[in-house]
Assembly symmetry: C2
């Protein structure tokens, strides 16, 4: 998807960001191809239009876009492996900001109903559900923010 520079400038300003050319191209690359992109993939796409862009710029701007709510992060977890010895069926409540994880017990999820909606062949027998939100502590800490 392409935007005029004026359109992008308005979008960026609404979110408190300066509207640079690099940012516009990175943003357009993410929006244009639907899916869930890694920084490397976006970098490859953006380089077709801006061969001299730096990978660091892609990382910086993706982080900014996520922080200001222009994009969402898939699986916002801590950057390190976490392991759980609790094998009983349970689910996780994850804070998108501090990445803390708490167990939730209970049967919120109608897996039968989900099964009817998901692609054929996807196996939910060992399934787990994670619910993302903002924990009490993080909400208190940054309650002044609007996003």
């Amino acid at each position: 998807m392409r935007l005029t520079h004026a359109q992008f400038r308005e979008l960026a300003w609404k979110h408190g960001l300066a509207a640079t050319h690099q940012r516009q191209v990175v943003y357009e690359a993410v929006i244009a191809s639907h899916g869930h992109h890694s920084p490397e993939q976006i970098y490859a796409t953006v380089r077709l239009r801006l061969p001299s862009i730096s990978l660091a710029t892609v990382y910086n701007n993706l982080r900014l876009f996520v922080e200001c709510g222009l994009l969402r992060e898939v699986s916002p977890h801590a950057s390190t492996l976490r392991v759980d010895g609790n094998l009983r069926p349970h689910h996780h409540l994850v804070c998108s900001r501090c990445k803390s994880v708490q167990d939730i017990e209970g049967d919120f999820f109608d897996l039968k109903r989900i099964s009817r909606q998901i692609p054929a062949g996807f196996d939910l027998t060992q399934s787990m559900v994670e619910v993302f939100g903002v924990c009490r502590r993080c909400r208190a800490k940054r309650s002044s923010r609007t996003n």
Copy 2:
């Protein structure tokens, strides 16, 4: 939690693993302290009992334990950032093996009902749900495995 060596050996064998001393201590460290542990945290705990253990051994054995189903991996997602330009409310279907992500539309989750069960103060207004399972391709690939 401590196990006798005989108990651990039986547990390990049931899952197709040799029962080494290091493995027992790593496993006990995970089980003993409830929560969601990083390799570094487990390494620190294990070193109290086995000061000469290598961090690589902790990593190797955690991976093996997860593969054979003795432990679960929290947030089994690709180790690289993924970004999503779709801001409309939707959820993700994630394959625990190949880490692929697909969108699912629909209203499977009764957030009101969840809200009543989660700790006070946890903010679900920007929430997202991810459902983990095994995608068709991965299921076909390793259908001979029992776990």
